[in-house]
Amino acid sequence: MKNKLKVLRAERDWTQADLACQLDVTRQTINAIEKGKYDPSLPLAFKIAEVFGIPIEQIFSPANGESGP
């Protein structure tokens, strides 16, 4: 799964620690999601969408080879 977390975070001038604190996860978890090493659970993905104030599908999209919605 691909995501635009890093871009969205940069647009708001948030650090990984800022976002982690809002989502109540570790900074390492944000780093792992941004680098595509970890796909967040659905509840966390929805929470991320809520924090950025945009629909979930504008943040996450299927990676090449994965079937889309």
């Binding site: 948030w14 620690a17 800022d18 604190c21 109540d24 792992a32």
Partner: protein
Amino acid sequence: MNVSKDSSNLERGIKRSTREVFISTATWVASTALLTFGPQKWWDYDGLATGFAIGVNLLAGAMMLFAFFRLLKRMDELQRQTHLEAMALTLGVTMIFTVIYGSLPTVHLLSESHPTNTLFVMGITYILSVAGLWAARTSE
């Protein structure tokens, strides 16, 4: 915007739970020592005293388990997944080691095997698994 705090709710919760795990584990180790050495050194194999020591050991073990469950629940999802995968690895490695190690006396490669040695394998496998899996996912 800067929403970072000195210590987030998550970090505070994990620190508190880790402290609980440490204290309950230390209590369990102490009660295990009491059960192991007490009958011979302190109460001359009195059945009632040994039964009490077993009860204390079971209670301390249960407290340690619940403390670890609480710690797992307080972790964030990546930490929890890392620990659960490490537990799966530990279970597999321990099972394989136990079968091989247990059969060594039968095939005359070892005079006797001590079941408690399995605990060392479990502990080392778990620590290495957590460290390895966490490093693989969070390396910068």
